[in-house]
Amino acid sequence: MTTTIQEDGNQLIATLAGRLDTAAAVATAEAVKPLLEAQGKEIILDCSGLEYISSSGLRIFLSIRKEAAAHGSKVIVRSINADIRQVFMMTGFISLFEIQ
């Protein structure tokens, strides 16, 4: 599982690749910390390389969303695959995130 963060103007783009399962969750939570401090930026979670997400991964997405809301930022989940889309739908997370 790899996580890279790039800043592009008013956007912070986190590119997530691999399997975001329980084992990868701790390292990923650490890697996304810069997103939690973003003030008023648009946070893009680019999931084009993300193969799988577990409940632990969803909790990380949720913590990003909570901090973003507190700091006036917006979170967009981009390019999720069919399996992850299914997870978002089954859990009602499609009502929590803007998905593109």
Partner: protein, 353 residues
């Protein structure tokens, strides 16, 4: 500008020596007002204060310096201004100021009440106040946003420059003042009536008279306060012993309207009618997974899905649902296809052939 006489020069000198006190008083007035406003929950558009500039004071002294024996006689060395949305709030803040400061009633003036029955113009409440611990008084101006706009534009067009205002221009400005006064009153009335409406709706919801309440943003929020989806969400969460995260449901308002819900009674019947099937859908989807975190939208989301599918809405209906929730994007079609395929063997789908 005319040279100041000795008396006025002495006042000006006293002003220079009092700069730090005046600046401190300005900060204390601002802090005091800010704390009181925060405590009251009143929302204002502007809270500002300034110390009169030396140039402005010199101008005032040149015009009417003989009126003042000492610097303390000048009441607007520090000026504070609060601009509100509503006229009612001007009075509420005035009453707040009466608690916070000692009001010099002799010099305070409510310009709103100075007008004759047939005249309109500058509207603002001016209080001359004394802050505990200070010898100087200060001026507090309270007005609405519309009154402020009128005053600012009037000032910008030369009112304070001493040039006599042409009658026609004055008449047009006063016509505007009258119109803005009507608009201010109407804004206040709308706020009051909306508050009454919300109270009436909450009472109807409390008394279960849901068919009497039209569905809109306000009424939907009132209805959700009773947590009508709690039971269904808890049933769904129990499938995997999941935790539930709060999610806003306001996006579902549009969906519910598309599903022909016109009153809260319609929404309530929709939930009751489809909650068992919504649970079945969730069990079918989540039963084989270890997903143990859900959004609190899951119950209503599944109710909408089931309603669409069991009434023959099919994939197109689902795509419209996801559009309403997610906005227009390329993923909605795939999401609809996926949901449709997941649900296709469930009992409620028998109508969708």
């Amino acid at each position: 500008m005319e040279a100041l006489d000795l008396h006025c020069q002495l006042i000006l000198e006293q002003y220079r020596e009092s700069q730090s006190v005046l600046q401190q008083m300005k900060e204390d007035v601002l802090r005091c007002l800010r704390e009181a406003l925060d405590h009251s929950g009143l929302i204002v558009t502007t809270l500002e204060a300034r110390v009169k500039t030396e140039q402005s004071l010199a101008g005032k002294l040149a015009l009417k310096g003989g009126k003042y024996a000492t610097l303390e006689d000048i009441t607007d060395l520090v000026g504070a201004r609060v601009v509100t949305f509503y006229t009612d709030d001007v009075d509420r803040i005035a009453s707040m100021a009466e608690q916070l400061f000692e009001i010099d009633w002799t010099n305070s003036v409510d310009k709103r009440r100075l007008h004759q029955l047939d005249s309109f113009g500058y509207n603002s409440l001016h209080y001359i106040c004394r802050m505990p611990g200070y010898d100087f008084r200060f001026e507090l101006q309270l007005r609405t946003t519309l009154q402020h706009a009128w005053a600012a534009i009037n000032h910008d067009t030369g009112y304070k420059s001493g040039i006599e205002i042409p009658h026609e221009y004055m008449r047009r400005m006063n016509r505007l003042a009258g119109m803005l006064e009507m608009a201010d009153d109407e804004f206040s009335r709308i706020r009051t009536e909306l508050a009454d409406y919300r109270r009436r709706v909450q009472k109807l919801v409390r008394n279960g008279k849901l068919d009497d309440v039209l569905l809109d943003g306000d009424t939907f929020r009132s209805y959700l306060q009773a947590d009508p989806l709690r039971k269904l969400n808890k049933r769904i969460a129990a499938i995997n012993q999941a935790e539930i995260q709060e999610a806003p449901l306001t996006r579902y308002l549009r969906v519910l309207k598309e599903l022909q819900c016109n009153t809260l009674g319609d929404v309530d019947r929709l939930i009751k009618r489809y909650e068992d099937d919504a649970y079945l859908l969730a069990r079918h989807q989540l039963g084989n997974t270890d997903l143990d975190i859900l959004s609190s939208a899951i119950g209503l989301q599944n109710i909408c899905i089931v309603c669409i599918l069991s009434t023959g809405g099919g994939k197109i209906g689902l795509e419209r649902l996801f559009e309403a929730l997610n906005g227009h994007n390329s993923q909605n079609g795939a999401l609809a296809e996926l949901t449709y395929n997941q649900a296709r063997n469930l009992p409620f789908m028998q109508h969708d052939n």
